[in-house]
């Protein structure tokens, strides 16, 4: 089950930045975070937004079946505070994200991708 007020936009990795750019209005919506989920060898990424005015309302841009060696586009030039979640995504799943560096949280080189189930 899932919250009834969450609206999910299924999209693809190529189109997601474009979609968010067209939809996002910083006066109306509130960027929450980027979330990655390991679904058995494939990564699912959610870009989560909330609404300032409507109660309980949330919006999720969802991309499924991302393999771990693809480059994930960055939305940091649309939402300037998104860089932290992108850096964390890189640390936690060891995936390439545009304009990011490794090591915001994990500095030990022996620890690789703790949230991936195969490692």
């Amino acid at each position: 089950m899932i919250n009834p007020n969450v609206e999910i936009f299924e999209t693809t990795l190529e189109k997601v930045v474009e979609d968010i750019k067209n939809w996002y209005d910083y006066k109306k919506y509130h960027y929450v975070t980027i979330n990655g989920v390991d679904e058995g060898g494939k990564l699912r990424i959610d870009w989560i937004f909330a609404d300032y005015n409507e109660k309980n309302k949330m919006y999720v841009f969802r991309v499924t079946d991302v393999s771990f060696d693809t480059l994930i586009p960055s939305i940091a030039n649309i939402i300037p505070s998104a860089w932290m979640a992108e850096w964390e995504l890189r640390d936690m799943f060891d995936v390439e994200v545009e304009n990011t560096q490794k090591g915001i949280f994990i500095k030990d080189p022996n620890i690789v991708a703790p949230l991936r189930k195969d490692k």
Binding site: F105, I106, K107, D108, I111, P114
Partner: protein, 163 residues
């Protein structure tokens, strides 16, 4: 300096470092400085400077990112010094034991003299721990431990061979 040791137990200056705990212990340290518990009654001050501190108060499990800072702080303090590990996390990691970025407790990095149990310890427990630390501190000072060099084993544990 037997005469001076008489005054020893009345002036412990504290250096506090959080090595990745949940803040709970740090809140209690702030509460201990405040009017209700007022640790300055015992002459204790929060100096925040390793070079002038006598008691190193460590809270939290030692995360891998904090490890080197903790080690350096310990080495920067002039002897005689006492280490107090505060809270359940300091004792072998607590709820965070064996997480991938945790070193399981303060005594894996530096030698610890006093343990304060609890999650989070009551300020009264903290004061008790400081009093206990002062006793050990006095003994260390009487034994003139600071005149001796560190044992080889400890130097190895601290990892300062190549520093």
């Amino acid at each position: 300096m037997g005469f001076f040791s008489k005054f020893r137990k009345k002036s412990p200056w504290i250096l506090h470092y959080n090595t990745g705990g949940c803040n709970g212990c740090d809140i209690e340290i702030l509460a201990t400085l405040a009017p209700k518990y007022d640790i300055e009654r015992f002459g204790a001050l929060n100096r925040g400077n390793p070079k002038q501190a006598d008691i190193l108060l460590v809270t939290g499990p030692v995360t891998k990112n904090c490890r080197d800072v903790l080690r350096r702080l310990y080495l920067e303090m002039p002897e005689p010094k006492v280490v107090v590990a505060m809270g359940a996390c300091g004792h072998g990691g607590g709820v965070f034991r064996h997480l991938y970025n945790v070193e399981n407790g303060v005594d894996n990095i530096i030698p610890v003299d006093v343990w304060i149990p609890g999650c989070a310890p009551n300020p009264r427990a903290l004061i008790d721990g400081i009093v206990e630390a002062i006793k050990i501190w006095e003994k260390k000072s009487k034994d003139k431990e600071y005149m001796k060099n560190h044992s080889k084993e400890m130097i190895k544990n601290l990892g300062v061979n190549d520093d």
